[in-house]
Amino acid sequence: MVDIPEHLLLRTAEARAKALGITVEQALAELKGESAPTKIEKEPEVLDVSPVEKEVKETPPPPAAEVKETPPPPAAAVKEAPAPAAAVKEAPAPTKTNGKTNGQIPAEVDFSPETKVTQRLLTVVKAKPIQKPASEPVDKVNTWPHLMLPEFISLMAMTAFLIFISAILQAPLLEEANPNITPNPAKAPWYFLGLQELLSYWDPQIAGVMIPLLIGVLAFMAIPYIDRNKDNKPSKRKYAIMLWTFFLAGAGTLSIIGILFRGPGWNWTYPWIDGVWFDDLLDWVHFE
């Protein structure tokens, strides 16, 4: 036999004691099979759905009929449910007690586990969890090895790539710095060349300061506070994606012009005709 945990047994005994009007100790003894199960007069439940049918019986039997025949005090009423409490409960349901007075003999119900137990519907508890999950459960995998292995491989690939290009491409080193000799053209680092290209069109205060400061820094930082669209599906945020793509295309075009198509005096040059003025590429691109 399966061992029932003590606390569950106790809880069952308490419920049983309350239902039958016996002491908890006795109920416990009964459940453990140490004493004979208490018998109670009880009728099998009939679910009353039609208002016509008056034969619905209720537990416990109405006090009026029963108390006259068996006068023992409620405390000792082993065979019945506590009468006074039941009386109060039954009072507001006159139709049902009417049915009771019909003179039907209540069937005996044995609550011992081996025999059939009838039950009645007390309440309907909707099947919902006590704790509401904040979000849908997500499909997760163990970081080791499913994430760390690809990470390790990409890290190794990056190392290999880096050593490879460092072995074949020499970093540029021109003549020693000389403030008196200005190279023509003088180019900024490649990531600023888009800006330098803009600088040749517009006023330096706009192109050199306002655009990098206002657009490059403040507007970028403000993006999440401007874009209030909560959706992250690409089909639901076409406008945002379009804007960023335009930005990428614009910045990329300006940078490529600045890197490859600008020569002495910041004049337009074609890399395949005039050569490239971009010293980061000095030692490994030989167009000139």
Partner: protein, 259 residues
């Protein structure tokens, strides 16, 4: 004779296996490799040990024990954030190595020449540092674009995007300050052009330029200033912001999505 040889080989095998076991059973080994480590004796592939691998390692516990399944697909992140961090580590290691051979004075150019010609692996390490710097700028920017296209800056990750923009600016500043250090014509004039752009700041443009150059134009004082910014100040700041960035990734619910 042949039989004895086989026996001898088996015996060697036994001894080496025994050595491995006694090493793995030693107190020293057990104290280094915490429970869950694949190097520990009796490691088996179980969900419990998979969790321990991450939790019981100071480097790996940057990660959560479990991640969303779509996030481990290489095509989702292209590993760009991780590679940004990794290039930073490569730059730190090669940069510290380069510091042994570099003086931010009028000797700077000579030091670079010496490094390239007379020091073992000097040229390779300098090349690695330079190309890794370019790659880092590129990868950080690509990471930003990836995050934008995935809408990963949306609630609750708004502030982590702001920190990300700060990290991009710090990356650019690190690259820009490093650009001057070889002290050749490319360095001084690229920095002069960049510094002149800062000089167009309205109202206090000249002051900004003066603070940047430590004077009116790029001189050896500028070199020292950029050197300190490059090797100490900016790395210090960027590490703080990176720590916040990584911490917020975890606190904001891990990787975004799925789309």
């Amino acid at each position: 004779m042949k039989n004895e040889k086989i026996k001898f080989r088996d015996r060697i095998k036994d001894i080496s296996a025994g050595l491995g076991d006694s090493l793995k059973e030693s107190t020293l080994w057990g104290s280094i490799f915490r429970p869950g480590s694949p190097f520990r004796k009796g490691y088996s592939d179980s969900p419990r040990n998979r969790s321990y691998v991450v939790m019981n390692n100071v480097l790996y516990h940057l990660h959560p024990v479990k991640v969303k399944r779509h996030g481990v697909r290489l095509s989702y992140t292209l590993c760009l954030g991780g590679l940004s961090f990794f290039t930073f580590i490569v730059l730190t290691i090669t940069g510290i190595w380069l510091m042994f051979y570099f003086r931010p004075t009028e000797m700077a150019y000579v030091d670079i020449q010496t490094l390239q010609t007379s020091i073992a692996f000097g040229s390779l390490v300098r090349n690695m540092h330079r190309w890794a710097a370019h790659i880092m700028v590129l990868v950080v920017f690509l990471h930003m674009s990836r995050v934008f296209y995935h809408g990963a800056y949306k609630a609750p990750r708004e502030f982590n995007w702001v920190i990300g923009v700060i990290l991009l600016i710090l990356t650019l500043l690190l690259s820009f300050t490093g650009y001057l250090l070889p002290w050749d014509q490319l360095a001084i004039w690229a920095v002069t052009v960049g510094g002149n752009m800062a000089g167009y700041t309205p109202v206090f443009g000249q002051q900004v330029k003066f603070a940047l150059f430590a004077g009116l134009e790029a001189t050896e004082a500028t070199l020292l200033r950029f050197y300190v910014l490059h090797v100490l100040f900016l790395p210090f700041i960027i590490v703080i912001f990176m720590a916040i960035h990584f911490w917020r990734v975890r606190k904001d619910g891990g990787i975004s999505g799925p789309l």
